[in-house]
């Protein structure tokens, strides 16, 4: 895990090493002095304290030397950091969207993936976007991290230099499933990358409704396969009888198009029994009337499939 796998890793690690070495020197040195004083000038051994006068020279010394040292640390940190913001012109551009609570990576040819596949040894620039709250793209093995701030453009770049699969984590707290907001980056050879890039058809689901569900990250809380996540599953939703709580009163409703629409626009009004209110945001002004129709159509089509 300490293994670095990008062009920045070596610089960052050596900056750590530099600062740690000096820090440990001071920590250990001062601690030893302190303990030595405690033993040597212990009251039993040294019943009478000697009064020492202040010493201007000493004060100046232990102001100036640390000052010089921290300036070196500052400079080291800055020098290694500077290139992190200077993207080479030939970098391949990937658009990254981090939303509550998943990642998607969009390539120049329109291909969208939920895994960041990159060729080894080639510079890549990630343009960072968030449609909802702040997230932060963090790849520990590459020693890089940058926030994705809604309404602001931000970016990061790097050259992955060892083939392998590495974790992508979200480092800025973004709500309920923050700690589950993971993805992988797979670093492969140029040929492999080209094959992946060209061959695989972009995973744009044929069904428009499903695409809307996925693009709005509905499916990160509502499963399609019947498993229980943060919210109830979408499987077998359409036309089913739902036991819901409205203002603390239990009632049964049929999941028809109006019910589904209400559940999207005012999720807290009726809560399916066994789930907590306040978990889902209201999607009014986010998902349009037409999109809701498409979603309902998708649910309906699913209910017609043979089991």
């Amino acid at each position: 895990m300490f293994q670095g796998a990008s062009n920045f890793a070596k610089g960052v690690d050596s900056a750590f090493f530099f600062i740690f070495a000096i820090s440990i020197f001071f920590l250990v040195g001062l601690t030893i002095v302190m303990i030595w004083f405690m033993v040597h000038y212990n009251r039993k051994r040294h019943p009478k304290a000697e009064q020492i006068k202040d010493n201007m020279k000493l004060e100046v010394t232990w102001t100036v030397i640390p000052l010089i040292i921290v300036m070196l640390m500052f400079y080291y940190g800055y020098a290694v950091f500077k290139p992190m913001r200077q993207v080479p012109d030939d970098a391949m551009v990937v658009k990254v969207t981090g939303r509550m609570w998943n990642w998607s990576f969009e390539y120049a040819n329109g291909k969208i993936s939920n895994e960041l596949v990159l060729p080894v040894g080639k510079a890549v620039k990630l343009n960072l976007f968030s449609p909802d709250v702040i997230h932060s793209l963090y790849i520990p093995a590459f020693r890089i991290k940058e926030d994705m701030v809604p309404g602001k453009d931000n970016y990061m770049w790097f050259i992955p230099n060892i083939e392998g699969t590495y974790e992508i984590l979200c480092a800025e707290y973004c709500g309920l499933r923050h700690s589950f907001m993971e993805a992988k980056t797979r670093i492969v050879t140029e040929e492999e990358f080209q094959k992946w890039f060209a061959e695989e058809t972009p995973i744009v689901p044929e069904d428009k409704g499903l695409a809307i569900l996925q693009n709005n990250a509905c499916t990160s809380c509502h499963s399609l396969d019947g498993s229980k996540l943060v919210g109830p599953t979408f499987k077998g939703l359409f036309g089913s009888e739902r036991l819901v709580m409205e203002n603390g009163v239990e009632k049964t409703v049929t999941a028809d198009s109006t019910y589904i629409k209400r559940a999207i626009l005012e999720p807290d009004k009726e809560i399916v029994k066994g789930f907590a209110p306040g978990m889902m945001r209201a999607y009014d002004k986010v998902i349009t009337e037409d999109d809701i129709k498409a979603i309902v159509a998708y649910f309906e089509s699913q209910s017609k499939l043979p089991n």
């Binding site: 895990m1 300490f2 610089g11 900056a15 750590f16 600062i19 740690f20 820090s23 001071f26 601690t31 302190m34 405690m38 000038y41 040294h46 019943p47 009478k48 304290a49 000697e50 020492i52 202040d54 004060e59 232990w62 640390p66 921290v70 300036m71 640390m73 500052f74 080291y76 940190g77 800055y78 020098a79 950091f81 500077k82 992190m84 909802d132 709250v133 702040i134 963090y138 520990p140 020693r143 890089i144 991290k145 940058e146 926030d147 701030v149 809604p150 309404g151 602001k152 931000n154 480092a171 707290y173 309920l176 499933r177 923050h178 700690s179 807290d268 907590a276 209110p277 306040g278 945001r281």
Partner: protein
């Protein structure tokens, strides 16, 4: 003036005074000492609640996956844990408890400048705390934003964020008024002959702190009001979907909250600066250097807030400038450490519980400070920002620093405050367990952070389970130690040996009056001629 049966000393502040008896007598008293004790009790309760929440979080993190609480509960827990510890424990902390109790005595005054305002500040604190408690219940559930209330999540979350933000807002007023009171007290009420540079160093640190409280707290106040307005009336300050700017929020928040770190640590440094000379029987080394470094920290501390935002997309120039200033502010802290250690040189050192807590303060403060350097340097910050490295770093500063200074202070001044000695043996056992538990709990978090474990994670990848496991064990050890310490103090307050006026051979003014002090502290007007740390 000294009397051996001082607990029976008539007219002690603990005896009934004024027209009300018992608890009502406490709730209406404007005596600075009683107000100090009121804060002490409240802070103790909140601290123990905060510790319990921390303990439950560590229990959940003992193993990966969901154990005892679900993700939403966990998120609520670290949010209240942070709110309690920051706004209700460490920010009032030393200033409200020991500042109230000892500032007037140490400068030879009968009380603070505005005793009634002082009691009023305590009531504001209680109202703020009550609102914070309220935010945990009813409505749409406990707030889940973290104590930092970052927008736009804090605008979108439909939990009781407004209530929690209101609590922080109200608590801020208590802090401002206490600061104001102390500034006026120090300017106007010093004893005859106590020039600025004859003032002891704990009051000096309170003075520097008070200015930060008065000048920085209003900024967070207005920011929190903006959050409330945005949530209630949909006015777009911070949420981009309403036309606001999330980075603006972060600037405003940290302009206060970084200096707030110094609100907690400066008085802690002040306490340690009192204790070391007393237990070494030596004049403090570099009195003026220590004063100037306090003022420098208070000043430069205002200019470094951006180091919390190195990865936020802030301009590259700001990143560099804030990194530079952050390294500058490290220097005055280093100067203090050197002076403390130099004070021990050729002293006559008495090692007891108080001193052990002080020494562990210095040790842990060094670790907290030195790891701060990797957070201040840009290249390394990018890797460890928002990981467990930060969680370890700030617990080392706030808990290992401020918290341990608080433990040192309560032992140091215990005989004065309650007129009895604490049990030394149990005290030392408690210290040993607290210290080892602390190290076991927080040190592994540095490693976890370096390995890339982000903070505020309910669940984690299997490669982080070793570190979390050890750290959770540490939490249980630490909590055991805290229980022993608190037990010892409570028992000693009732059954301890009676304390003489000056059990440690201190030189500052509080040791010249009986333990516990009489109602108005001094029988006669105090005249100061000597330097506060003139040991013969």
């Amino acid at each position: 003036m000294t009397s051996n049966n001082s607990a029976l000393h008539p007219g002690s502040y603990l005896d009934q005074q004024g027209k009300y008896k018992g608890i009502l007598g406490w709730l209406t008293s404007t005596d600075h000492k009683r107000i100090g004790i009121l804060y002490l009790m409240c802070i103790l309760v909140f601290f123990l609640v905060g510790v319990t929440l921390g303990g439950v979080m560590k229990l959940e993190l003992l193993r990966p996956g969901e154990q005892y609480i679900d993700a939403q509960t966990y998120n609520g827990f670290f949010t209240v844990h942070g709110i309690i510890m920051i706004f209700m424990v460490v920010i009032p902390g030393l200033a409200a408890v020991f500042g109230n109790f000892f500032l007037p005595i140490m400068i030879g005054a009968k009380d603070v400048a505005f005793p009634r305002l002082n009691l009023f500040s305590w009531y504001i604190y209680i109202v703020g705390a009550a609102i914070a408690v309220l935010s945990q219940f009813g409505g749409k559930g406990a707030p889940d934003t973290g104590w930092t209330f970052y927008a736009p999540y804090s605008i979108d979350s439909n939990t009781n964020v407004t209530t929690a933000v209101l609590a922080a807002f109200v608590l801020g007023f208590s802090s401002i008024l206490t600061g104001l009171n102390f500034i006026v007290t120090i300017h106007r009420m010093r004893a005859k002959g106590m020039t600025w540079f004859k003032m002891p160093l704990f009051p000096w640190s309170l003075y520097a702190t008070a200015w930060i409280q008065v000048l920085a707290t209003p900024i967070v106040g207005i920011t929190l009001l903006m959050v409330i307005a945005e949530r209630t009336f949909r006015i777009g300050f911070f949420d981009p979907s309403l036309g606001g700017d999330p980075i603006l929020y972060q600037h405003l928040f940290w302009i206060y909250s970084h200096p707030a770190v110094y609100i907690m640590i400066l008085p802690a440094m002040g306490v340690i600066t009192e204790i070391i000379p007393t237990f070494c029987q030596r004049k403090v080394f570099g009195y003026q250097a220590i004063v100037l470094s306090s003022l420098a920290i208070a000043g430069v501390g205002y200019l470094v807030w951006g180091h919390h935002m190195f990865t936020s997309g802030m301009s590259d120039f700001s990143r560099m400038a804030f990194s530079f200033l952050t390294f500058i502010v490290a220097i005055p802290s280093a100067i203090k450490v050197f002076n403390w250690i130099a004070t021990m040189y050729k002293g006559s050192i008495k090692i007891n519980t108080t001193f052990l807590y002080s020494i562990s303060f210095i040790f842990q403060f060094m670790i907290g400070g030195l790891t701060g350097l990797t957070l201040g340097a840009l290249a390394t910050n990018v890797h460890v920002h928002d990981t467990y490295y930060v969680v370890a770093h700030f617990h080392y500063i706030v808990f290992g620093g401020m918290g341990f200074a608080f433990f040192a202070a309560i032992h140091y001044w215990f005989p004065k405050m309650f007129g009895r000695m604490y049990n030394e043996k149990l005290g030392k056992i408690g210290w040993a367990i607290v210290f080892s538990g602390f190290t076991l709990l927080y040190f592994p978090m540095f490693i976890l952070g370096l390995q890339g474990m982000p903070r505020r994670y309910f669940d984690y990848l299997p490669e982080y389970s070793g570190g979390h496991f050890i750290s959770s064990i540490g939490a249980f050890v630490l909590i055991t130690g805290i229980i022993i310490m608190v037990y010892n103090l409570f028992r000693s307050a009732k059954k301890g040996e009676l304390a003489p006026a000056n059990p440690w051979d201190g030189r500052t003014l509080e040791w010249t009056i009986p333990s516990p002090p009489p109602l108005e502290n001094f029988d006669n007007e105090v005249v100061v001629t000597e330097h506060p740390y003139d040991y013969k």
